[in-house]
Amino acid sequence: MMPLTQHPLLAQLLRRVGANEAEPPTLDAWRDLLKLVSQMYYESDHDRDTLERSIENSSRDMQQLYQDLKHRTESERVEQEAIMRATLESAIEGIMIVDNKRQVIAMNKRFAEMAQLPESELAQRDQRVLAALAVKSVKTAESVLSRIDGMQETDGTWRDELELINGSVIDYFSAPVRTPDGTQVARVGFFRDITAERHAHQQLEQAREAAEAASKAKSLFLANISHELRTPLTAVIGLADLLLLERDPLVDRQREYLEGIASSGRHLLALVNDVLDLAKIEAGKQELTLRSIPVHEAIEEGLTAISPLANARGVSLEPATRNDVPNVRADRVRLRQILYNLISNAVKFTDYGGVVRVRARQDGDRVAIAVSDTGVGIAPADLSRLYRSFEQLKLPSGDRPGGTGLGLALTKRLVEMHGGTIDVESELGVGTTFTVRIPVG
């Protein structure tokens, strides 16, 4: 830029009217200057020529100065606009800035795409039309408009989800634009297309719902089929037992076969019962009747039920429960089932001459019931499989012990339904202890 001082007289005059040399003079300064010049023109007859030349020169300088300033402001404006444009266009979001009169001040291409603004309108650049078109692309245009109007008056930010007519879902964030003195002059809106996210989320949700429904249907089916299976099993077991009761003598082989039919029938029945129980739990149809139950009674019932098996296997049962153990809050039938499963497992995996101990003690707000055996123990690698359905551990001989392979899976579920926990400690060749903790009640 050409400094004003290039023309000494002009510079001097400008200083006299109080203008800054580095900046273009204000309108008032120009006025003062002109006044000053015409005054000087009439007062200084003696060197009119000089002055006229001087003014002629200065007006050329002034023009030059004006051009320079104009150019500089223009290039700054262009530069700033380029920065703003680049910023707008490099954003991932669609951006639209609207002034208080609902006129679009600026928008980026991403926004034009989202709002599906037609090329013809974009070319026309009628910002009022564009703003109206943008609003129209939203399904609930009316409510959006009223909210936008409401927001113009408030100064807060606003976040919302807009559903467009074309089905897109837009995450919309709106913030006020203020001048340094705090006046809100416009609002800038950021628009992010979350249709894909939303769609993926919905699909996931639908898949989850379908999976849950399928699982429930499966459980219901199992519960029904288990029930149906019990009827013919009744006849199988009962008729075999009936034949074994016959007075007519059977040959040993016939008796053996009948015993095979009856015992397989009972095994199948136990399996059906366990499947039914598990299915009921998974279908959410298993209900507990919670009562306050003396622990030693439940343990005694479990031990009594298992004593024929223990006697047959030469395993002794040792209850060791102190009288001061509080009652537990449990379903009597299910608690008996839990203890029966644990004690019968202990007996099955313990050799002749071994011992199965059942102890109960208070542990905070729970009663810990521990079933310990002096059996074969569980390999660390097998511990994680313990509670899975049909993952029955084998005896060291390679045989599978009796039972359904569902006992522990079922036991765990039942314990958890009581708000309890089940833990296991085991050492190969030494023995295993299962501990269930049931809330005091």
């Binding site: 019990r230 099993l233 029945l269 209900e287 379903d331 039938v333």
Partner: protein, 121 residues
Amino acid sequence: MARILVVEDDLWSRRLVFELLVLRGHDVLCAAGVSDGRAQLDSVRFDAVLLDINIPGGGGELLLQEIREYNTVIPVIAFTASAMAGDRERFLAEGFTGHLSKPIDVKSFGETVESYLLPPA
């Protein structure tokens, strides 16, 4: 000796119960469904009814209601494969005298049924 009606739709369960009760010296008649059982009850005087719940013709509960309309004392025992918690209480509340769940214990079945019989007048 008592005259007992067994209403059970499963052929071999019916036969099993029949044999067990006959072995104990009872006079046993059988029916496979509600209408069959109703016909037997109309023509014969029974001392007890063993009634399956899940039977064709309206279910055991319907037949029980009909029996209770004219006879409130005859022992009617629910005989069912369902072993849901609360079943027993529900059956007793509905007017059954007792509940026997399948599968049955062959050795004790007869005695259990007899325990529901009314003492001879």
